[in-house]
Symmetry: C2
Amino acid sequence: MDVLQAIRERRSCRRFLPDPIGEETLRQMLEAAAWAPSPLNSQPWEFVVVTNAAKKAEQRSAAEACHQWALKESGWKWLSGYRMDFLTEAPAIIAVVGDPKKTGVDMFQQEGTVAYQHACAAAIQNLMLAGHALGVATLWFTFFDKPAVREILEVSAEKTPLALVCAGKAAEAVADVPRKDVHAKTRYI
Amino acid sequence: MDVLQAIRERRSCRRFLPDPIGEETLRQMLEAAAWAPSPLNSQPWEFVVVTNAAKKAEQRSAAEACHQWALKESGWKWLSGYRMDFLTEAPAIIAVVGDPKKTGVDMFQQEGTVAYQHACAAAIQNLMLAGHALGVATLWFTFFDKPAVREILEVSAEKTPLALVCAGKAAEAVADVPRKDVHAKTRYI
C-alpha cells in the first residue's frame, strides 16, 4: 500500500473480530516498528504481545479502575459512556515499553528525559501504518496507570509502559475522523 | 512508494543540497503529519517552516551553545566532533511545536501530561515518511534548549518546541544504520 494512502486511511479501531493476527503479519508489524528513528540509534523500545485472555482481562480491569478515577477527577460526563471492550476483544494487545536510559543527549538537557518516549511513539506509528497496510486495525490506547500495567506485564520499575496497542481485524467500518486544515496551524518564517 | 519500503528505507540525513523544497511537496508532508492520531483527536501540533537564513543561523547558534554545555555535562568525547552544519544547510527546518493543553485524559493521570508529545512524535514520523516517498530527506533534531528555540521562533511559553526537522534533498547517500533483531526485544504472553 502507498505510504501516503496508509497515513491518510489509518484510523483508530474500537471493535475487533476475534480472528488471531497471523505470525508473519505480526512479524512485519514489529519489524516496521523497530525501523523507527531513535536518539543515537538507541532503539529504546521493547514489545510485549499479549494474547492470553486472563492477562487481557487484568489489563481491562486496570483500565476500568483508571477510568473511574479519571471520571471523578475530570468531571467529563462523556467519559462515563466510554466502553473499553476492545481491551479484551482485540486478539492481540501489543504493549510498547520504553527504556528511559536510552534517551541520548537529552538526559543532560534542561527539560528532562523524554526523547526515548518520542522514539517509541514513532515506532508505534510505524507499527500501526504497517498494520493498516496488512489488514490489521489498531488502537493506540494509553488510558492506564503505569504501575498497574508494569505489574500485569512483569515490566521492571525502571522501564515505562507507554501504550497498549490493540490490534486485530476491524469488526466494523471505522469512522473517518476529520482533521483541521494543517495550513491554519503552520507559520512560515 | 510502498509504506513498508518507506519505513524500512527512511534514514537520518545530515548533508543537504540547497535546492528548496517545492510548495506542493511541503504541503503533502504537512498534511501527512496532520493525519497522525492524537488524544481525543486534539491535534496538538503546530508547525513553523523556517527558510530564512538568519533564523536558521540563530537556531544553529543556540544548538551549538547547547552542544558545548552537553559536552561538558556528559563527558562524551565523540560529541566534540559532532557538527551541526545541517541546521543552516538544509533548505527548510520544520519546527514541530506541541500544546500541553491538548493532551486528553492523561492530564488527570499519575504520571503527567505527555500524550500530546507522543501525538506530535507520530506526526513527525508521518512527515518524514511522506518526505522520503517524495524525495525529501530529513533529520529529527532535538538537541536544543526549549527556551532558546521558543524565543527564535516566537513560540509562547505555554507551548513546547519538540523537534526541528531538517529537510531537503540529500547531498550524499545516507548510511543504512542497522537495527537489533526486534524478536529479541519482544515477549509473548
